[in-house]
Amino acid sequence: MGNSSQLSRRSFLTRTAGAGLALGAGPTLLTACGGSSSSSGPLTFWNFYAPAKVAGGSVPASQSKWFDDLIATWNKSHKPQIKLQYIADYLNGSKLQTAFAAGKGPDIFLISPGDFLRYYNGGVLEDLTPHVTKEAQQDFFPNVMKTRTVDGKIHALPMEVEPMAFFYSVKAFEGAGLSEADVPKTWDDLLNVAHKLRTKKRFGVTFETTPGYYQDFTWYPFMWEGGADVVGPDGKTSAFDAKGTVDALRLWQESIKSGVAPRKFLGTGGNDILANLATGYTAIQNCGIWSISALKSKPRFEYGMFKLPTPPGGRYTTVLGGWAFVANAKGKDPEAAAKFCAWALGSMSDDSVRRVADWCVKAKSDIAPRKSSTDLATKEGGYSSAPMKFFKDEVFPAGRGEPRYPPQVVKAVQQAIQSCQLSGADPAAQARQAGESIDSYLKSYKGASLA
């Protein structure tokens, strides 16, 4: 017995060893087909424009194609190859943050001013200045570059400028006996008109309700119109506890309280014009210039636009959003990544100027961030259509670039908006509370200037 059981133990051990070997051999096979992206190989470029072969939904094929062409052109003539990586739910998801936390951030990625400081303070935004000529630096509009520059150094190159305004359904207006003359000029008008447009199945107007950078972004101009701001001009203290803030919070609160605005959106949210305005879910939508190209897919849907209405004694303004290319300073080859960003968007070559123009008026509908591209696009008729002309000549000029705040400040503002808008909290108290928490955060804040 002793013998045979000895044998069995040996066979057990060999089997275990065999299993161990099989398991040990696994990882190489598995990672091989998994395609780990960061350690070697081409530079990765994370973006949220789905590849052309799977495009659709919220990403028009023209935009995916622009990205594909961009990468193809670079790869044809440049050495470190670049690979596009589509990331779904880029804005509200956690992929980018997780990747950086794991030390596997992409080499090139897209960033909005709202998120600039987090990455800048994290030390991952490569200085792009050495790769952008003086001439090219001056070609970009200063109000667009301000939030992408720290101590005179450029850390992000914008690909677009996206102002916010209101879009309305002509059919809904006519159905309610309204005409172009009734387009709201003041906040009171806006609520009144929205009330007239409200039906059982249709909301009158929309403001973003999903918490996050985007909601803060869309709300800022209402606060600015009343003369308030999140932080003072020095960027070191809060300016939030002000009448303009309270009024803006109250406007958004009133829209929900009176039932003219929805609490939930269809589609991806308040930025989705097709799922909301175009389906008749709402009659007016607070949305950005990108809606123009989105609405091209519904040629039979007739819409109009108007600038942000103003509060009593307020001055018109709007917010200018838009995404930028950045290079990861801790990536595989930061210099090559930075060169790519500059080559793509920030060179005085005809290619670069045209590329930005094409993106802004052909692939998408945006204001170009550079004078030369704007001129080129204008010359070729990119801003001759009524909606584009309206945005370029009326909405954009009084706009202010989306400010950059650290996540904690964004959260404090978000908390004030959310609790006033959705839970009916007292705007004055919320403005005070958020102001206090911003102040206490800024006291110990050590990163780049907010201003």
Binding site: G2, R9, Q97, F100, P211, R263
Partner: protein, 321 residues
Amino acid sequence: MSGAALGSDVRTQRTRPPGVPRARRRLTQRRREWIAGYLFVAPDCLGLLVFVAIPMVLSFVLGFFESTGFGGYRFAGLANYQRMFSDPLFLNSVTVTFIYLVLFVPLLFCVSLGLALLVRQKRPLIGLFRSLFFAPNVISLVVVGVVWQFLLVDNIGVVNRVSDALGLGTRSWLGDPKFALASVLLVSVWFFMGYYMTIFLAGLQDIPRHFYDAARVDGAGRVQTFRHITWPLLRPTSLFVLLLTTITGVGGLQGFDLIYIMTRGGPNNATSLAIFYIYQQAFQYSDFGYAAAMASFVAFILFAAMLVMFALTRGGRFDYD
């Protein structure tokens, strides 16, 4: 291994008089059984150690560090814990979790017990009905969340249309802080009720028939039978269900998956369960240290709750004796 075996043999020879093969063989056998035992549990123990125990300990340690979100960590002492108790959103998430738990556990308990009692008896097609009650549980929470989001769309969703047709008007089920938590909670109950119904059914089946026969002889009514026989004899099952639902209620995936899909913690943090808030802090704001501190706190609460449960169930025994 052979060295150890040799030593063991020597020891055997010392304690037992030599030349007694039976005793010697038994001891060798025992030693062999030990080794086999350790080898058999080794893979699972190693895995649980690496992927559960170490993370648990790490979570505690990490709670004393501040993370940059870009791979750097700095010792921060108790700062994360201090911040935790002065963070209104964390306190809010604890409150939300508490409310959720206090409603979820009893509601799920009653609904699933009720269903079990309903489908307990053999009737035509009863097997099918039981399966239908169970069906939601085999679908992923992602699909569940997506489908309910579709049904609960404002104004024009099916639920609102039905409620409007019934004269109850429309509501923003997921957009109004007053209703959002209740909506998520009901979806959770809907998802789980079939599972716990099945557990209750098993418990009911285990109740010996002669108790019911005796009750019938005594002329007991339905309510009396339930109160005096079913309820007390179902106690082990009931406690087991309470234990499981409490664990799932606090740290369960449904809290995360459903909220991630349906509300992302909104509107105005009304559905921000602690585990979801922790996830957000970690993976959206890269605040790993702070998230770990909060997770440790939640784990501590869970652990305390389990101790109470264990005390109640005499050391986790759910069987009769």
